[in-house]
Amino acid sequence: MAKLPVLTDGPFKELHPAMTMPEALREANRCLYCYDAPCTRACPTHIDVPAFIKKIASGNLVGSARVIFESNILGGSCARVCPVEALCEGACVHNSLQHSPIEIGRLQRVATDHVMERDIQLFEAGKATGKKVAIIGGGPAGLGCAAELAILGYSVTVFDDRAQPGGLNTYAMAQYKINTDFAIAEAKLLEQLGVHFKQNTHVGKDVPLAELEKDFDAIFIGVGLGATQKLGIPGEDLPGVVDALTFIEELKTKKPADVKVGKRVLVIGAGNTAIDAVTQAKRLGAERSAIVYRKGEDDMPAYDYEYEIGKSMGCDFYFHASPVRIEGNGKAEKLVCKNAQTGAELTLECDMVIKAIGQAKRAEFLKGFPQVALDDKGRVVVNAEFQTSNPKYFAGGDCVNGGKEAVDAVAGGKAAARGIHKKLNGAAANSKVA
């Protein structure tokens, strides 16, 4: 692609816009090039951050991008969606020395954009091993696994039930963080490695599991989590009550003008997805957009900087407000909450309620895999090589870790690929990719 899709205006205007080259050079030169750097340690995929930044400073942008993608095949998406404040940038030594960390995420974007804009292919499929691996789920875990296997010479097919690959990067991240088309484009780069994508394909429905087991030497499960959990309160099924993932998916797949948003929006929950929902609702024109959370400010699961984003965009926050029921005449009009400690009631007027209280595990779906054990929380149990209790099946990402960052899913998928390689190759897997 000659020009990467970005929105510079309107409700989807980027939170962290691309750097100009002078800006990138100044920032890259500010990097101290730490040895055994804390930023690299803090990255779940252990990208050699000082190395890629030094390469930006030297003008070796292709080399920089290679360092990034070698560790993290979704380096472009992660540059946009990673909670860098909590990971690499949070670990930067400049937090103490200059009180402002190196902008690692945005620098990573400079390098990855450079090669994507120029269609520079960095990797090739490895010499064919003659073995085939099926990947179930085209999200970060599946893609991380697929890329690694393709480079190692496996024939890889990704089965994904969505119209487009990319998983949550494509369908569930606030649009001001990552543009849908970008997430899709980066996922599709894996086609250069010979990875086959079967979209709109439900394993177990469109493709019988028995067929996969017959056709493939190993199977990777990277199906993530399921739908938003139920509140279990009266009025939950009233029109005007939506779940956060559906709301965000709508704005990821439609034009801003076509996304329906209320005038008074209440978002139940206080995680990072809740912040995405409340801020996007505000950006889309809600007069009031508020978080309603049953516990206190300090208990919020959202990262501090996400909370800051919400506040800076003018969103409201109601704490110690446990939803009791949703009232309304044929549609959601009021949310009644109770303070669990004092018993005091709070009634908030609304015309839209967004549920963001976390995704349910996909235990029912996962139980369909033969002899693949789940723990008591519905997570797939894996060993150090990311192999499940059924030796043919490997797993990684949210369905294993219970729900973490995209970058953790990529790391999990990649580790599983090495596990698969070790199993299928017999010998210790010496990855071509560091």
């Binding site: 100044r26 030169n29 101290l32 090039y33 730490c34 040895y35 055994d36 750097a37 400073a57 030594v93």
Partner: protein, 438 residues
């Protein structure tokens, strides 16, 4: 505290200026209107762009060394002396002197190596009212191919001879500007003194190729597909200039002669360093080409505040104060020992000291996890291996974190010269304790 009165007036070999900050002979002193604007901005003196038979220049002429985001830490030029008639330059000097009688205007001169030619131009300088003359024996490009500039400065006999010719007729002090493109600065410096120079100015620019465009394969600055070596100046050359100034300031034959220091002066701090090593005044070019005449404001202000802080009243008190501290290696005390000491409270865990010492020095730092500090690894100095080289403290980005602490107990000094002179046998190798006698 009562503020002392600071007088920045400077006398460089008989050339008086209201402050020690002069513009070097270069594009910023190309013509009268420029020098007048510079004086208005506060410059104490200006060495006129070299006057001689006008030349034809090429374009382009300049190229820079940029480093890690800093523009122009070095500058290179292939511009020659004035391209304007001799007559015009002297007329403008006359006009400038009338308007600024107390500022120093120094005529930089360069003509072919003939006694008559030098006499002629020096006489015209006398008539112009200029306060001094600077002989350009330094330009390393273009003019040197014509037997002038550094072609003179590189041959002490010529330097002496032309200086003598100039002194035969000059009615104002004569400075000789030296080229650094020599094996040692002492022979040309001594030759200038022998020829009767009233002062020395140095350094002129250094032979250089600034770089090559790796896309077009063309060196900079490119002139229609070719390039020539140019003269290198700017902040990057300061250490070279300081060494040469210092050498002349402590040499028996030249130490009495005033020096106008040149080479990478951009701030008052640079100027103070030049003065401490023996310069009476300093000349500035690159910094002005980068930022304009306005930088003189902080040169003056910074120097004034510095002198006040030091309880001094004149920059004269700085001149040569550090010159004697620079000596030959053989005079250094081999028994003086420093060891690195780390203040963990100031450590930011970048580990740069570790890798620098491990790969670039003496493997004298270990990274040791500190459970009291969350298990983070901190540098620990292995005293037996530390040779006190300074490297760790130099790479450390956190001020005050690594210090070099004296550990020898101030024992008796022992220099290599003494070892030689007294025939003391010592064991070779680095030592972190006193020199072992074999």
């Amino acid at each position: 505290m009562k503020n002392s009165v600071i007088d920045l007036t400077t006398n460089t070999g008989g050339i008086i200026s209201p402050n020690p900050f002069w513009l070097a002979s270069a594009p910023p002193t190309n013509m009268g209107s420029m020098v007048e604007r510079a004086f208005e901005a506060g410059w104490g003196g200006a060495v006129w762009k070299t006057i001689g038979q006008p030349i034809v220049n090429v374009s382009s002429r300049l190229a820079t060394l940029d480093y890690r985001g800093s523009k122009m830490i070095g500058l290179n030029n292939i511009e020659l002396i004035t391209d304007r008639p001799i007559e015009t330059n002297f007329k403008e000097i006359e006009k400038c002197k009338k308007r600024f009688p107390t500022h120093a205007v120094i005529a930089s001169l360069m003509v072919e190596s003939k006694r008559d030619a030098w006499h002629e131009i020096v006489k015209r300088t006398n008539d112009s009212g200029a306060d001094g003359i600077e002989l350009n024996f330094g330009c390393p490009h273009g003019m040197s191919e014509r037997g002038m500039g550094s072609a003179m400065g590189q041959v002490p006999e010529y330097t002496c001879m032309v200086t003598e010719w100039v002194k035969e007729v000059a009615k104002v002090p004569v400075l000789v500007k030296l080229t650094p493109n020599v094996g040692s600065i002492l022979p040309p410096g001594r030759a200038a003194v022998k020829g009767g120079a009233d002062g020395l100015s140095l350094i002129n620019t250094i032979n250089s190729v600034m770089g090559v465009d790796v896309d077009t394969f063309m060196p900079y600055p490119m002139v229609n597909g070719m390039a020539a070596h140019g003269g290198y100046c700017g902040p990057a050359v300061k250490p070279i200039a300081l060494n040469m100034v210092g050498e002349l300031a402590r040499d028996k034959e030249t130490k009495h002669i005033p020096i106008s220091g040149i080479g990478g002066v951009e701030t008052w701090r640079d100027a103070v360093e030049f003065m401490l090593l023996g310069s009476t005044s300093v000349q500035v070019c690159t910094a002005v080409m980068h930022y304009g005449y306005r930088i003189v404001e902080d040169l003056i202000d910074g120097l004034t505040n510095y002198l006040r802080e030091k309880g001094m009243t004149s920059p004269k008190q700085l001149v040569g104060k550090s010159a004697a501290a620079v000596t030959d290696w053989g005079n250094l005390d081999m028994n003086y020992k420093v060891l690195a000491r780390v203040d963990k409270d100031k450590c930011i865990n970048c580990n740069l000291c570790f890798v620098a010492c491990d790969d670039g020095a003496h493997q004298a730092i270990k990274l040791v996890p500190d459970q009291a500090r969350g298990g983070k690894a901190y540098p620990e100095i292995v005293d037996e291996e530390c040779v006190g080289c300074n490297l760790c403290s130099l790479v450390c980005p956190s001020p005050g974190c690594i210090s070099m602490v004296r550990m020898d107990g101030e024992t008796q000094k022992l220099s290599w010269r003494e070892v030689q002179e007294k025939g003391i046998a010592i064991k070779p190798g680095h030592a972190n304790k006193n020199i072992e006698r074999a």
